[in-house]
Amino acid sequence: MLPIKTETLFFELALTLYFIATIIGIIGLFKGKKDTFKSILVLAIIGFILHTANIAVRYIEGGHIPITNLHEGASFFSWCIVALFLLLEYRYKIGLLGSFIMPIVLVLMLSSSMFPRGISPSLNPVLKSYWFGIHTILAFLGDAAFAMAAGIGVMYLIQERYVKSKHLSGLFQKLPSLQSLDEINYRLISLGFPLLTLAIITGVIWANTAWGTYWRWDPKEVWSLITWLIYALVLHLRLTVGWRGKKAAGLSIIGFILVIFTFFGVNLLLKGLHAFV
């Protein structure tokens, strides 16, 4: 036996790099130069590669998709966020984005590190279904889009504050324009919403094959539905009465708080059937 397992090593290294990236990102808010944001990106990329290695090793060792407990779930959740962050940074080059996203990633990774890490050799029979992979991956990709939308929403609210109050100092120069933040926020929610919808649909089908009923008002199911309704509302109000800008940003933050509660809170506080993740 090795004193430390390879996958654990990968996990700890990724966590450390995300930690450093977060610290640099927060310092960068106060006195950032171009190099600061480049270094966050580099750290995130290396961290992401190590993180991927961690997930791959767990997949090979366990023989199933490693999203079977809270440790793996939180870890996979942050993996999705980092992946989306890198894609977004590649596409929009926002620079400051890392300062708002990496803290979310770090918190998720830290909580992941506090849950038991064992790779279960005997998988819960319910999870032995191909719906399991489809459902969980869809759910976490959707949640990652919502996390990103919340980060962008915070940036919007800060920038909006500057423009409204006419004190154009501090981060005003570094933050993107209100319109582009609002648009990116909208696009992320438009991406996350269908993913969440599909996740719920696949979940329902899977529930029927596993337990014989489509919907059992399990806490996880209920809170997912509430989350889904919130995001449906965000999109609906934007298209009909033009709830954009500040209101959309605020709602996307509330939505993400619900996502987090559905993910952690339901598992830790309200016991239900959906006891794995």
Binding site: L168, V241, G242, R244
Partner: protein, 437 residues
């Protein structure tokens, strides 16, 4: 090797003198040519912009060189010398170098941090290179000035934020809308400042331009000028539904746009953001409108506030820029000083070699017939003794530091060299003297 700067700028000369003294188009090349052929002026570069006219020269003698350049400017432009001298500044040595670096870095500009000056300096340098009027000294000075300017620009935030009302308006519009090319803009009323700001917005590519005025004819005229559409004053409110940016400047004594209007308009716009700029005094747009979501209202005082913060910011950054300039002037002086040592090193080598040859010949003559091998051995011996002995003074001369001149002087005296001291400036004390007239 003396660098001098002779010139005038927005601070020292009124506009009519600046106009008279400028070197435009063919005049520039003609002037460079005349200076090139003037005795005592080894190199020259002429920078001529609307805010400054400066001649950079490398002269054999500071005093006579400066006089010659001054007289040249007066003669060339037919400006009475005493009138011109009131506006001229003359810098030499360290001050000249500092001045050039400050000009390039836009620390000496009327609007500190404006970016055009560096391009203008590069153009001046290019023309000098093309006409071969600059040499080792000024080329190095220009290249260094350009790199100092870049350093100041990247290491400080000197050019970051807008310092005029109309630029501040454009900057804000870009922070609200990102892409102005899909946005419609309306000018309500007229006025110098409003029209200037409108021009800036239009040159930044707004899609539609609407103009409205109580006098429709005035609106039509302005619309023609801006390539836009005139709107009847009574119809401007409905037109606002499709307008994203508004500049308002009318003589109305009351608010022409109140909260109710904007509430309705925003509903119809589905809350698409609006940026309202009210530069009228008294104000024409109810300030409470700023409380409506997605509406951003700036009045003239707000814009002044933004500009003032930005100017303060620039001035703070300019101080950092000055530090960078000081640092770079020092390295340039070191380089220059190391050039001063070259003639001394050459003279020292020549002298040592001459002595060695003379003594070697004497000795060989006295010794009579020696084998070829012995002659070679003796030659090698003298060579190595001489080389080892002059190695130390040479090394001391080469190590460029601020006291090179002193070392050159000492070495010259000890070894009785006559070359090194000759073409140095008369007295180290007058480097960097400023004569302002």
């Amino acid at each position: 090797m003396n660098i001098i700067v002779i010139g005038l700028n927005h601070d020292t000369a009124p506009i009519d003198i600046r106009e008279k003294a400028s070197f435009n188009g063919p005049k520039l090349e003609e002037a460079i040519d005349i200076l090139k052929n003037s005795p005592g002026i080894k190199e020259n570069i002429i920078l001529s912009t609307c805010n400054r006219v400066e001649i950079y020269a490398n002269v054999t003698d500071i005093a006579s060189g400066s006089e010659r350049v001054k007289k040249f400017i007066a003669d060339f432009h037919r400006i009475p010398e005493d009138l011109l001298n009131k506006s001229l500044y003359v810098h030499s040595g360290e001050n000249a170098i500092t001045h050039v670096f400050r000009v390039a870095s836009s620390l000496d500009s009327m609007v500190v941090g404006e970016p055009q000056i560096l391009g203008q300096l590069k153009d001046a340098f290019d023309i000098a290179l093309k006409m071969k009027s600059s040499g080792v000294m000024l080329n190095k000075l220009m290249k260094k000035a350009i790199s100092v300017a870049k350093r100041v620009r990247t290491e400080t935030k000197i050019g970051e934020s807008a310092v005029s009302i109309s630029f501040a308006a454009v900057e804000l519009a870009k922070k609200i809308f990102e892409d102005l090319s899909t946005k419609a803009f309306m000018l309500i009323g007229a006025g110098e400042m409003a029209e200037l700001a409108a021009k800036h917005l239009i040159s930044n590519g707004v899609k539609d331009v609407l103009v409205t005025n109580r006098t429709f004819e005035r609106a039509e005229n302005l619309a023609r000028e801006f390539n836009g559409k005139a709107v009847e004053f009574d119809n401007f409110l409905p037109a606002l539904v499709h307008t994203d940016i508004v500049i308002c400047s009318t003589g109305a004594p009351n608010y022409i746009l109140v909260k109710d209007h904007v509430h309705k308009i925003m509903k119809q716009r589905k809350n698409k953001p609006m940026f309202l700029i009210d530069i009228s005094v008294p104000r024409n747009i109810d300030p409470e409108i700023n409380d409506i979501d997605n509406v951003y209202l700036y009045d003239i005082d707000n814009l002044h506030g933004v500009v003032n913060i930005n100017i303060e910011e620039r001035n703070k950054e300019a101080e950092k820029g000055e530090e960078i300039v000081d640092e770079e002037v020092e390295t340039f002086l070191k380089w220059q000083a190391s050039l001063n040592a070259v003639p001394a090193i050459v003279a020292l080598r020549d002298k040592a070699e001459a002595i060695r040859k003379e003594e070697l010949e004497n000795t060989l003559r006295k010794l009579g017939n020696l084998g070829e091998k012995d002659v070679k051995a003796i030659e090698a011996l003298t060579n190595s003794i001489v080389n080892k002995l002059i190695h130390f003074p040479t090394a001391a001369l080469k190590s460029a530091s601020e006291d090179t001149e002193v070392i050159v002087d000492i070495v010259s005296r000890i070894f009785d060299l006559n070359t090194g001291t000759k073409n140095k400036s008369e007295d180290p004390g007058d480097r960097g003297n400023d004569e302002k007239q």
